[in-house]
């Protein structure tokens, strides 16, 4: 691992070189780059003081390390000289040479180790050490503002003065503040997402660098919005870095923008962290009220985490010790006429109480949490297992070897790409670097390999694949984020309390609807991350797909792996021509597909969100909270890439959505289980030759075959044309059969997987208000077979005419009495009741 680290660090240095100029090519130069700001003469003595105060504990250590590095560097320079002399003269004295060599080696190792240590600390963010080439100081267009850059007084006193400065170019700022994301151009969306992502991945100096470089060029400055400045400011505020925060604030003013609530929240947060005296804070608050911004709104309108809110409050309390947080308004109630009865206060509330005790539900919750944390589920395929013949075993082994190989190659390519993209940012350009840093390299590599495993033989459209990849990345990132920020623990606490409402053996004092109960529990509105803008999604997906194409290679002839065969790519960019359109498709090598088929691996891998839940879903409380525990779920399904509906939902008053949210929650809370007897029957058919009449698709071996596969070369063209037509027909049928079979395979495998479980299907809706279960493969929307596999986990006795309606339904399914009234259908059911019962007892005869 340390070797890897070192490699990473070294790569970083190499990249750092060009902007530093030729003078810094020696190792001394590169190291100087790392600890530059500390030694640079431009640094303000005050700043150093401040820094020293801040990370007092580490500074000492750092200085010692630096001193040692300098010492070693001095030695290594002389060593280079000696080396040169050595080569030139070809000194015969071997003992001396050996000692020298050994010394050199030891020194080199020491330098390496020191560098690695330094690098490690830099990376882990322990020190705020910026590489020299990252710009910190902004270049301001306004000279008056530029005076602030070389202050006579401390940075703390600067802040209120900067805030008081009237923004430049007043006329501009009205037209320049697009309110929603949709109004931003693609480039702006990308930039904003970049800054946000940098905050998440601890690449704040990079974000600052990009902001400064954009700000310093008139053309690019137009792209920047207040949101972007605020984002970077917030990042500095979290770190308590005052100087940088003032820099950003200066840029805001310079760009002619007026700081808004978010900016003030960031400033106050920073002041709170710095433990500043009251004077600065007071002036800050004064300025705020002068601009017509309310102090209360700081805590209601700005999305801050609890810890951040506390810090801001600490700062405010210094000035106004009596200030208290605004009270949460009482939960509003939907006022729609249609729903009046549902939300009436007095009547008893009807919500599905589950049949399971609290203990069971809690253990189920644990299980589901594990599934979602792993973000994938391996399911045993119900396909008839292939006999473990020599051939099969060989194929499996080959596949495994290839995969191991690919994983390593992918990690390498990922690393290279990251390095390249980081360089792009250093040059002041947007790149995907922080997005690629969100997940661990190995995890990304495994995710890509899963996609490769699932790639269908005819290929997948490149854009679809890209979208899929970025969606998977996002979902994994969201899960991981929640895990790291302790939201999972919070969720666990609240969910356990919430289960008291649903469990059969517990009672809550004021029963209400699940959503209302969840709101009463006061679970904090989790800071769910907004999905990335479409341009970023597509670019990231494309980048990932491209890496997969680059990294995966296999020997051209798989059968003789020992022979010297050249490596060929596994994936190919091909094009499909539809009318005048040209559609890019990513297609796997036919030999790879063949290998996959031969190996016939017995497991299927699903994403966690494609499998029904093992515990009751979270109640829907807002357009983005509900459904799965951790994975992001959409309230409203749409065509890919549409964001307008999301914005409309955000701006919609929460009470207006209550009807929809509660309806979905009720549906999702219905518990299901698998009808084992039907599943047994279906599987029996499925593993034999299938039965299309009964809705069980046949295996590919049943596909029609053309009469003769090959014609001699001399056959007449017309005969060949005929054969081609027949072949095409057969292939068409085979493809259709394949897709039916695959759909059934997923459904039955999941059914088998969940055979002895109770499970839940979280629901969402489309734009018309039709509701759908979120897990796509196994749910109650489907053919007769699909529905026959399911039953309610909690049976209820039939009503007075229930059995009659069942009989009528049965006759309806036969289709015999289509034109008859219900009475006659019922009579017919009675008439053939013996046969019905018989077929229920012996379905296969």
């Amino acid at each position: 691992m340390s070797v890897l680290w070192w490699g990473r660090g070294a790569a970083g240095f190499r990249r750092a070189l060009p902007p530093c100029g030729p003078a810094l090519v020696s190792p001394a130069g590169t190291l100087g780059g790392v600890c530059g700001p500390r030694r640079s003469s431009s640094a303000n003595p005050q700043e150093q003081d401040q820094d020293r105060r801040k990370d007092w504990g580490h500074v000492e250590l750092l200085e010692v390390l630096q001193a040692r590095v300098r010492q070693l560097q001095a030695e290594s320079v002389s060593e280079v000289v000696v080396d040169r002399v050595d080569v030139a003269r070809l000194v015969p004295c071997s003992g001396w040479a050996q000692r020298l060599e050994k010394d050199q080696w030891v020194q080199r190792m020491r330098i390496q180790q020191l560098k690695a240590n330094l690098q490690m600390q830099v990376q882990s963010g322990e020190f705020k050490v910026l590489p020299k080439h990252l710009q910190v100081k902004p270049q301001l267009l306004s000279k008056q503002l530029a005076m602030f850059l070389a202050p006579e007084s401390s940075w703390e006193e600067q802040l209120p003065r900067v805030l008081q400065e009237a923004p430049r170019k007043l006329s501009l700022d009205v037209g320049r503040a697009p309110s929603t994301q949709a109004q931003l151009s693609g480039q702006q969306q990308k930039l904003l997402a970049f800054f946000k992502c940098c905050l998440l991945t601890d690449h704040l100096p990079l974000a600052h660098h990009l902001l400064v470089t954009h700000h310093s060029q008139r053309k690019k400055q137009k792209l920047l919005t207040l949101d972007m400045y605020n984002t970077v400011m917030l990042g500095w505020a979290r770190q308590g870095a005052f100087k940088e925060l003032v820099y950003v604030l200066l840029m805001v003013k310079d760009a002619g923008l007026t700081p808004d609530l978010l900016s003030y929240a960031a400033a106050l947060q920073c002041l709170g962290r710095q433990d500043q005296d009251a004077g600065t804070i007071e002036r800050c608050l004064e300025q705020m009220s002068q601009e017509g911004l309310e102090l209360q709104a700081l805590f209601t309108a700005v999305p801050l985490s609890e810890e951040e809110q506390a810090t801001v409050l600490k700062a405010v309390h210094k000035v106004k010790p009596t200030f208290s947080l605004p009270r949460q308004p009482p939960p509003a109630v939907n006022t729609s006429k249609l729903l009046r009865d549902v939300y009436a206060k007095d009547g008893p509330v009807s919500y599905p109480k589950l049949h399971l005790p609290l203990k069971t539900l809690q253990s189920l919750f644990e299980k589901q949490l594990c599934v979602e944390l792993a973000s994938k589920v391996c399911v045993v395929s119900v396909e008839k297992p292939a006999l473990p013949s020599k051939e099969v075993m060989h194929a499996r082994k080959t596949l495994q070897t290839l995969r191991d190989h690919w994983e390593r190659a992918l990690c390498r390519v990922l690393q290279e790409t990251k390095n390249r993209l980081e360089g792009e940012v250093h040059k002041g350009r947007f790149s995907l670097y922080p997005f690629l840093c969100l997940l661990d390299e190995r995890e990304v590599a495994r995710m890509l390999l899963e996609v490769l495993q699932g790639l269908p033989a005819p290929g997948e459209s490149f854009t679809t694949l890209a979208r899929e990849l970025s969606a998977r990345t996002f979902s994994r990132h969201v899960v991981q984020r929640q895990q790291l920020s302790g939201q999972v623990q919070a969720l666990e606490t609240y969910y356990r309390k919430y289960l008291h409402l649903l469990a059969s053996d517990t009672k809550v004092p004021n029963p209400c609807l699940p959503r209302q109960y969840w709101e009463v529990l006061g679970a904090p509105e989790a800071l769910r991350e907004q999905p990335w803008p479409l341009p970023v999604q597509m670019e990231l997906g494309k980048q990932l797909a491209e890496m997969l194409v680059q990294a995966t290679q296999m020997p051209s002839s798989l059968n003789n792996p020992h022979g010297s065969s050249r490596l060929v790519p596994v994936l190919y960019h091909v094009y499909s021509f539809r009318n005048v359109q040209q559609i890019g498709v990513l297609k796997p090598h036919p030999a790879y597909v063949q290998l996959r088929e031969t190996a016939a691996e017995p497991t299927l891998t699903f994403e966690a969100v494609d499998v029904p839940m093992l515990c009751p879903p979270l109640p829907w409380t807002s357009p983005h909270t509900g459904g799965f525990l951790l994975s992001p779920t959409k309230l409203m399904r749409t065509v890919e890439g549409a964001t307008q509906h999301q914005e409309l939902l955000e701006t919609c008053p929460p009470t207006a959505l209550h009807g929809a949210l509660d309806a979905l929650t009720q549906l999702g809370n219905c518990a299901w289980r698998v009808n084992g007897r039907v599943l047994d029957l279906v599987l029996q058919l499925f593993q034999a030759k299938g039965c299309p009449e009964l809705g069980v698709p046949a295996p590919p071996s049943e596909a029609p075959q053309p009469a003769e596969a090959h014609l001699p070369h001399s056959a007449a063209p017309a005969r060949k044309a005929e054969l081609r037509r027949e072949l095409a027909r057969c292939q068409k049928v085979a493809r259709e059969m394949h897709s039916l079979r695959a759909e059934a395979l997923y459904r039955f495998s999941l059914a088998q997987h969940l055979r002895d479980c109770v499970f839940w299907l979280p629901h969402n809706m489309d734009f018309r208000g039709r509701t759908y279960p979120c897990p796509p493969h196994f749910n109650h929307l489907g053919s007769d077979v699909a529905r026959a596999l399911l039953e309610f986990a909690q049976g209820r006795p039939l009503g007075p005419h229930g059995l009659d309606w069942l009989k009528i339904h049965l006759v309806n399914l036969t289709g015999f009495k289509k034109r008859e009234p219900l009475r006659k259908r019922l009579a017919f059911a009675e008439e053939v009741m013996d046969e019905i019962l018989d077929s229920a007892d012996q379905p296969m005869t």
């Binding site: 005819p458 051209s556 009318n579 030999a591 063209p717 017309a718 060949k720």
Partner: protein, 396 residues
């Protein structure tokens, strides 16, 4: 030069009387005359498949084009008709071929052909002309047959029910008593006509698919096609690396499949153009002006005997088409770049086999080079998987 026509639309009669043009061009406006049966409106804007009665959901029908560029062209000049008859029928002492004449219209050329001794089947898609055409063949003991049929809609590729004037070739040829002959045998019959002014490209594609797959009319052998084609399309059809701007997929496909000869050239300026608002004299519309600058070429396209001699066959022609479409999708790129996404084989090796440099550009490849390239890959023996092509990549 008055022609006895039973029931001609007034515009047409006008042009015939004026005698100014050697062709008559019937604008779509004429088709909107009341006395024409409604169905013919569709028939007149001829073969463009988007107007097929069958709904085709894959390519949603565009709005029926009613612009003044929708023409129907007929030969009305007797002298021209005689020239053409001479050209098409060849030397008088040879036994005449059976001739399918597409959309003969007023039948002036038909007469000339009959006089030259040819056996003619007139495939007319406009019912208006049929009685007159039938009257032409009355005393010729079966040398002329008139069938209500649109040649460019024989065996429509969209499938579905076939309604006249669309027809199935099987039925048509059975009626005419034409037997299948092997590909390597002689030419069973000739076709004479004009490509529809709007759908030249579409018609060429349809014929190309039929030819390479040996279906539709080409099931019956190497049918020779003599067609008038617009100058622009003609230049594209004949283009090769010497004028790379016009060089495209159809040029390669047709130059490989057929020997193409230019038989005659007729300037558009000798035409009268009629639109809905009457005779077009001085127009300012750019497209029309451009069209009038053009010439019409009569080309003879005879399928090559050795087309299927090597490994290109009706079994794998679609891969060949895919290769061409792929290559011309980015024509300035090198062939080797394209090959990498067409075949898993070693692209460099293949190029070496056909004797091309590695940096050969697509537009520098001659049509025969493409065929050789395809056949080299198809014949290579060192790998079981020669192509990345898949039937699903193509929609037909």
């Amino acid at each position: 030069m008055w022609i006895p026509v039973a029931r001609l639309p007034p515009r047409l009669r006008l042009s015939a009387l004026a005698g100014a043009g050697r062709f008559c061009i019937l604008g779509s406006g004429a088709a909107t005359r009341k006395h024409l049966p409604a169905r013919n409106r569709r028939g007149l804007s001829d073969c463009s498949p988007q107007l097929l009665p069958e709904p085709d959901f894959r390519n949603p029908p565009k709005k029926a084009s009613r612009s003044s560029l929708d023409f129907k062209r007929y030969v009305t000049d007797r002298r021209l008709a005689e020239t053409l008859a001479q050209i098409v029928c060849g030397k008088p002492n040879r036994p005449p071929h059976l001739l399918l004449e597409c959309n003969p219209g007023p039948g002036i050329l038909t007469e000339a052909l009959l006089e030259a001794g040819a056996k003619v089947v007139a495939l007319e898609s406009d019912k208006t002309f049929i009685p007159h055409l039938e009257s032409l063949g009355k005393n010729l003991d079966g040398k002329l047959r008139v069938i209500y049929c649109d040649f460019f809609r024989i065996d429509p590729r969209s499938g579905g029910a076939i309604k006249p004037p669309a027809m199935s070739s099987e039925e048509l040829f059975k009626n005419l008593g034409i037997e299948e002959v092997p590909w390597t045998a002689g030419i069973p019959l000739k076709v004479f006509g004009m490509f529809p002014s709007r759908g030249e490209k579409r018609a060429l594609w349809k014929l190309a698919y039929d030819l390479y797959s040996c279906t539709s009319i080409y099931k019956f052998g190497r049918i020779e096609i003599n067609m008038f084609i617009g100058e622009k399309e003609f230049q594209k059809l004949m283009a090769d690396p010497r004028n790379p701007k016009l060089y495209h997929v159809l040029s390669v496909i047709w130059q490989i499949a057929c020997e193409i000869k230019v038989l005659h050239m007729e300037p558009w300026s000798s035409f009268d153009v009629y639109t809905r608002s009457g005779r077009l004299e001085n127009t300012k519309r750019k497209e029309v002006l451009e069209l009038l600058q053009q010439k019409l070429y009569l080309v003879q396209m005879t399928p090559r005997q050795n087309l299927f001699a090597n490994s290109l066959t009706p079994m794998n022609y679609n891969i060949f088409f895919h290769l061409l479409k792929h290559c011309f999708g980015r024509r300035t790129a090198t062939v080797i770049d394209h090959l990498r996404s067409l075949t898993p084989l070693d692209a460099r090796d293949i190029l070496m086999q056909i004797g091309k440099e590695e940096d050969e550009k697509v537009v520098n490849m001659h049509p025969q080079d493409f065929k050789r390239l395809f056949e080299t890959i198809e014949c290579s023996e060192d790998c079981a998987y020669k192509w990345l092509y898949d039937e699903t990549l193509e929609d037909m």
